[in-house]
Symmetry: C2
Subunit: 622 residues, 2 copies
């Protein structure tokens, strides 16, 4: 509410301002496409790395393998176009699978996607910082700090709201696209003009000799690694609601542009790698990324090279933002179905799902700290989650068309093809990457499913328990027995006691004995200041109860007394009136014991249905 | 209360068990004497280090300088014996200075002592670990962790209570005394038998050539450094109450033994250093402590050497315990005079002043972390505090005897001599060590004085404000206006509403509008389930207030409404009844929003004298 909060997080937005926070394709591409586009920087590289043992011959395999990946991408594109159209309120894999296959399938997709988003965020940040660190080796010892710093910036931007997130990411994303597409066009022109045998502007490292023969297993591994380039395609369909009217059209337009750019990048990189004979280099010694070699080969190591490398670093690091745009939305949808705590579904002051952002930031931060900022080993884990979600979503779409009245044979075919292709790919990736880490996903998914089921069960049980469809019973309402702890006679006590009479005439004041001469002084005060005026006002005098405390505890004897009175009066309500001195300044709380607060908590935790706590504050003016 | 707490911290002790927790001289020496005795391990060393530039001639100066330190110690001893006798309830410098000179002098002594205790704890632990680390250099990188580990152990032992603290420290303390006194006696016998020119069992490093001439300033510096050996003498007088009957006699006995042992150690080390020509070594290269050289010279590097070095390390590290025994007691005395938060004066479950222990542990830990476990630079700071306290205490004693009826000329003379000697020493130490860090103490003391004054002022102001010596006014007690926030119709709501009628007939139910179709459903429920039965029971129906909330806030509109009702009814009390679902398991709290708790806090902080909060809990059984 203060101006500092406004300055940091932006002013609070009213519900009716939501429309203005919605985005079009120009902002949609950076927000929902960063993940998909940035994967062009590591997908081909991951595939080429596995081809190193094949030597010079290996590089030529990249073209057909990329071809198959592009085919899969095209199938996915048409599948998801249909999903966006059919689910204009956001058709993430969770929604589509749940509505068409069943709750279990929906939760399976949700668990897979949640894992995927956390991994995307961690791997994206870590890959960006990794690239930066290989460019500027002196930053090496700061790897983890850089990762956490970027995580903090992304978290902060997302807490400010979606529109601004889009604005911040527009420049690096478009710079990245311009540089890479430019390089590819330029490279293709050069290569075509050189009759398919272009001469690199700068010398490239020679391809190593072949050490192994090509095998079907190797090709499967390469394909599986290359599939990492496809994660993030789901993002747009999940976030349809974030687009401005006409939402479906804007979302489809955004998806189309993202997929076209991604295809150009993947195809161009693969073809140029082949004609320029660019293979991956050893990741440990004399490492140079494929994109770096490609840029040097086409354009040389000039200003353009450095601008391009800079944009790659930036986009990789910021690709984590896609996870931040989508993870909270996914959690919200699941929470609205009671499978996650409801707090994930409440929008914060800037119309974003604050809790989802916090949870993602914490999990990502934990992964980064755990892996010390180097998360290469996490890459195999996340293609599994993504393709599992793809499959469930497309299979759900097939059932969706079957249920929908009218002829949808063509639509069913498209989604069926998508489901089959992604299903096969899921099995291939799982098989190829099981030992390298995909087993973690296989273990984690059932755990998450169980947690979500338990959350739902708890909500249902509590809901059933408190549900009421009957009128209240206001007959025979009796005044409560009031118990008030009193340490000594002062204005705070006096005020609380007066309030006791406002709610009941049956008052018991409890005083914990100090075991010394102060007890009798208190009793004298009490009779003079409380009992006498009560009788004079025609009220029954409050009963004074002195409690012994051999262990110098103050709260326990009071607690025990309250529970005893409750037991002895099974039909009555017990109201515990707690006088509390409220200090003017927070630091004054250090000076006073917090007995009233502790007693409040104790009574709440150890209390029973018939015990009610009344807090009578007394405000200090000094 | 659980058995784990009992196991860790010992069972709770009743007030009547306090006597059994009191100690005699055997346990008193480790508890209150560790600080003083352990200083024999660094006092002479600190003095000899400053004599290095004088070369071989320098070592001979140690005998007369130690003589003057012993003289000062003797004066202090007789002074403090009298203090213990005159103040059997604990006559720390604070008490003596406050009662005899004035509040200001008392606080000055208290501030000086508090600084001193924190420094003692940090320097003791760090010196012990430093010695250990020079013996086992591979532990070097773990210095800070070792320091914090020892701090944790000491804190933990002290939280368990005094008697056990004594028991744990008995063995290392007596081992230390036995080893060192044994070495000194053995060394003196050898030296006397060799006609004052003993031959070391093992070769010692040669004394370096002289690089400077002796000067009065240098001698003053050496004396000031040697005075570090005297801190901790105050401890016994502060803790008289911890001794068993006869308390004064037991405390005096303890002090006598501590001082005698300390004098033997200081005198023996000085004399033997002179006859064996042992000087301090360069602290940076080829460092060996004076005690290590002395042990080698007298006994050789055998089992006895290692046992002795071990006991020295242990005693140094544990000397921090004296601070832990005394600092909480000092804080308690000051807190009882309202100069520190009252929580310092409440005994915990084991009859120790828990908060004082925590504060000391935190401050010591902070110093250790700040100085990375190497606190040599702190040593000059703490002699100033100790001697300032000594001076104020002895000066106070002089005035005490003047006020006491009867002839006390002899007593006055002893304490007057003590005051003069320690006063001069304070000025000497402050002058000699001002630039080396004593200025920090000079700056810190006024800050602490101001804080203590402010604390006292706050207690006085609040006390004055709430003080009441008049009877309560129980006339014209009116029932409160009850406001209860209601989100939807369920058993939690129903129960709270019934309680509303138990305390008042003027009830306003506030419902924050969601701005959608659920509002009208709620209104229908409300009229059917609440209004109709109220009228049927012959009660006025509760008024339903629907609040708009364009920013989706739930709590703020309720808060604003409560304050508005309060303004509109200046003569009425407003009772806000908050229904709250209490979960059976703590982890279920993650699943529900904490609106009731937040609203309780908001109402307490932003509320006014006329607003009372009533919490009606509903306990979930699942």
């Amino acid at each position: 509410m203060t101006s500092i909060t406004d300055f940091l997080f932006g002013r609070a937005l009213a519900t009716h301002e939501e429309r203005a926070e919605k985005i079009g394709p120009v902002a949609g591409i950076p927000v929902f496409g960063l993940d998909a586009l940035s994967s062009a920087a590591y997908g081909p590289e991951a595939a080429l790395t596995l081809l190193i043992p094949l030597g010079a011959a290996g590089v030529s395999y990249i073209v057909p393998i990329t071809g198959s990946i592009l085919l899969l991408l095209a199938i996915l594109y048409f599948s998801y176009r249909q999903t966006i159209h059919a689910y204009p309120n956001g058709g993430g894999s969770y929604t589509v699978a749940k509505e068409n296959i069943g709750e279990g399938a929906g939760l399976l997709a949700a668990a897979a996607l949640m894992i995927d988003y956390v991994l995307t965020a961690a791997v994206g940040i870590s890959a960006g910082v990794g690239a930066l660190v290989s460019a500027v080796p002196s930053l090496q010892p700061q790897t983890l700090h850089l990762c956490l710093g970027i995580l903090a910036v992304i978290t902060f931007i997302n807490l400010r709201g979606l529109k601004e997130a889009g604005a911040v990411f527009v420049i690096p994303t478009y710079l990245f696209v311009l540089c890479l597409v430019g390089t590819i066009v330029w490279g293709v022109i050069k290569a075509v003009m050189a009759g398919g045998h272009p001469v690199p502007v700068e010398a490239l490292p020679a391809l190593p000799p072949a050490t192994t023969m090509v095998s079907a297993w190797l090709i499967l591994q390469v394909f599986s690694s290359g599939c990492a380039a496809m994660t993030g395609v789901e993002a747009v369909s999940n976030g349809v609601k974030a687009f401005r009217e006409p939402t479906s059209e804007n979302a489809q337009k955004t998806l189309t542009i993202i997929i076209i750019i991604l295809m150009i990048l993947l195809a161009g990189i693969a073809w140029l790698a082949n004609v320029y004979h660019i293979g991956a280099t050893d990741p440990v010694k004399n490492y140079e990324s494929v994109l770096s070699m490609l840029l040097r080969a086409v354009a040389g190591k000039g200003v353009f090279y450095y601008v391009s490398i800079g944009s790659i670093l930036l986009v990789l690091a910021l690709s984590a933002n896609t996870a931040f745009a989508d993870f909270p939305r996914l959690c919200r949808i699941i929470a609205r179905d009671n499978f996650l705590p409801h707090s994930f579904a409440s929008t914060g002051r800037r119309l974003v799902y604050t809790n989802g952002i916090y949870v993602l930031a914490i999990l990502t931060g934990a992964l980064l700290v755990l892996f010390n900022g180097v998360t290469d080993r996490l890459i195999p884990l996340y293609a599994v989650g993504a393709f599992l979600a793809f499959t469930l979503s497309q299979a759900g779409m097939v059932l969706h068309w079957r249920k929908t009245p009218g002829k949808h044979f063509h639509n069913m075919l498209v989604n069926g093809l998508g489901a089959a292709a992604t299903g096969v790919t899921t099995i291939v990736v799982l098989g190829a990457k099981f030992l390298e880490g995909a087993w973690v996903t296989v273990l984690l998914v059932p755990v998450m499913l169980s947690v979500m089921m338990l959350v739902k069960r708890h909500y249902r049980e509590v809901g059933d328990e408190v549900a009421s469809h009957s009128p209240a019973d206001f007959t025979n309402v009796e005044e409560p027995i009031v118990i008030t702890p009193i340490a000594g006679w002062n204005k705070v006590t006096q005020k609380a006691l007066r309030f006791c009479y406002a709610v009941s005439h049956e008052i018991r004041a409890v005083h914990v004995s100090a075991g010394d001469e102060t007890d009798s002084a208190f009793c004298k005060d009490w009779s003079m200041y409380a009992e006498v005026p009560a009788r004079e006002a025609g009220l029954p005098a409050p009963e004074l109860v002195i409690l012994d405390s051999p262990y110098r505890y103050v709260l326990l004897p009071i607690m025990e007394y309250v529970l005893q009175v409750e037991r002895e009066n099974p039909s009555r309500q017990i109201a515990v009136v707690l006088p509390e001195l409220v200090e003017k300044h927070w630091y004054h709380y250090l000076l006073h014991n917090q007995r009233a607060s502790v007693l409040k908590t104790l009574l709440l935790v150890k209390g029973s249905q018939r015990i009610v706590v009344i807090n009578v504050p007394w405000y200090a003016s000094v």
